[in-house]
Amino acid sequence: MSPRLFALVPAAVAINLVVGRIAAELSLPVYLDTLGTMLVAVLTGLPGGVLVGTVSQLLAGMLSGYQWLPFVVIQWLIALLAALAASRGGFATPFRSAIWGAGCGVLCGLVSAVISFVLFRGVTAGGVSAIGALLRGLGLPLSTAVTSASLLTDILDKTVAFLVVGALLRALPRRILGRFPVAARAVGR
């Protein structure tokens, strides 16, 4: 592991946690708790992002129970898609960021619906399950309710997350761009 990852990974995990808390304090309808994972994946590549995602999920386990550990797959998926988007100029404009974000949301929503349905029969923590219960109450079958709830929340969350990361990347100081040459490609320069 490079000295830079020694420095970056703890900071990025802390960002996941703290920005997630800021979004909750502002009562926003999104989680924004994967920005650190995305940034490190974009700036240093997939392995760094996966590392941040894994450590984040382990830390989250300490704070809210290790039952949610299977959702680490979602962190990896986000790292993968953020790194992929970076290599394809996916953050060049707000529009492109939103498209990649929505795509990431669809994939994450589907995978977390599978985890949520198979392992937890649709009841995990937070707003997703509440929306799922609401849809179920409206008469939808359990699998449909869980999937729709996951898709709905994840598409919104990931679109906003990609928009935020894109806005940051497009306005990075030269000094950071010089240290992370990949960032220039991510915004299509």
Binding site: P3, R4, P10, A171, L172, P173, R174, R175, I176, L177, G178, R179, P181
Partner: protein
Amino acid sequence: MALDRSMSFVASRLAFRYPAQTHKALDGIDLTLANGDVTWLTGALGSGTSTLLLTLSGLAPRLTGGDLSGAIAWNGHDPARRSPLLDGVAWLGPSPGQQLSGVARNVHEEIAVGPMNLGWPRARILSAVAEAMRRVGIEHLAEREPSALSGGETQRVLIAALLAAAPLAWLLDEPFSALDRDARQRLGALLRELAREGACVVVSCDDAEDMMDVADRLVVLQQGTVALDGDPQELLASDAMLTTGASTTDAAALAAAAGFPTPRPITAAALISRLPAARLPIPGAQVARPEKSGPQRLRLDDVHFGYDGGPPVLGGVTLALAGGAAVGLFGANGAGKSTLLRLAMALEQPTAGTVHTLDQITAGRGPEDLAPRVGFLFQQPERQLFAASVRGECSVAPTLAGWDSARIRTATDAVLAELGLLDVAEEHPYDLPLPRRRLVALASILVTDPMLLLLDEPTAALDGASRERVIAAVRERTARGAAVLAITHDATFAHETLDRALLLERGRIVHDGAVRDVLDDRSARRPAALTAALHLGLEPGSDRRQEVVDVLTLALRL
């Protein structure tokens, strides 16, 4: 410990460029540093002193990226292979808060981190840690939590942490910056001791007063090359220093401004010894400053405050500030200085009593209700910047206040010109060196022309030129009718901007008077301008720099 004199740093035709930069930070440096010497590196902002330390340690370009040409040898080999600590080189960066390991529970463990990583036997580590704490004089901090230390304490812990690993060479970047006067003297003595024991000590330092009695050799860099190299006392007394843009001692600067011939006096005592003993009749210098009687900007009436469940922090503070007043808050840590500023900004509400900020009572209000007519400068204000350009950053507060774009443009132009930032208006704030980034933060607050300024250590970690900007800006604001309430440890700032000092002790104002009564020579070094003013018997309040220069000029002519 007998050391071979050949074990030292040798740089030949050394050049270095940071990634994504067009200019070279170092450009053709030839330098041989001897063991047993304290070498002082200085230069104007951006002259390359920090970069030189990084390349000598081998950390640049290995960690920073960038291109290096030429050659460096430490102890006969290339330093750029592994952690400098493993090769007996101690490097200390400029921002103490960033340097803590983050893995230590207390100061004792923090100091043991280096030897632990070197894999020394446990008994050797324990004795090295104890010895390092003793030499730096921080035994009393042993059980403290590293993250809860003050900046100065952190700096001393870090020096002890490096010392414990028994390095043969020291590369220190602004090691004095967060220290109080006693700690500065102690560190200077330690550096001399280390050199006497045979270590090669290299210090980058912007403050001449700290190093002039400590250094054996002064190397002044200018745009990445060696501009001057010689005896510190001789160079400081000469004209050469001034042309490089490096800061010199306050006494030398005053002497130069007053037109003294070289070699100039470089200490306050030497400066005074050149003055005639008799009092001088000085026209203009004895004009008392007008009483501050503008409209009220801040009023505290019998304010009590305590944080939830904690002991009382303020116990009955009454205070009024009129427009044009500049008042300093002094007192030990925990005396309630920051709390008082926070109450004035409605970041806290008093448990009893009332706070009136401008014409509003703070009860039921938050800081966003007082903005933008009150400006609050936090410590480390550069950490709040987020716009993509300096101009954009200055537009944040006026935009939030609903100003139209033409008005914003005029106001940002004016404030950027005032703080000397117009040439970087379109730059990203994070591309600027730290002192200028701090100026950007100050500009982003002054832009709305606040009528009350609450400043928490406004000149911390600034270089000489940036500090002058801050001093000028604060004086300009009080002249325009704003009131200033500032916490500061900077004697020059205090003496040149403040006209009253409040001393807080355990949540009460115990003294209200002249700055010089409160800021004694022990806690902060008096600038030579003040020492000279006192010697000349100028009226209280006339210890301002220009007045002293006028007197000196006159004295020289007589």
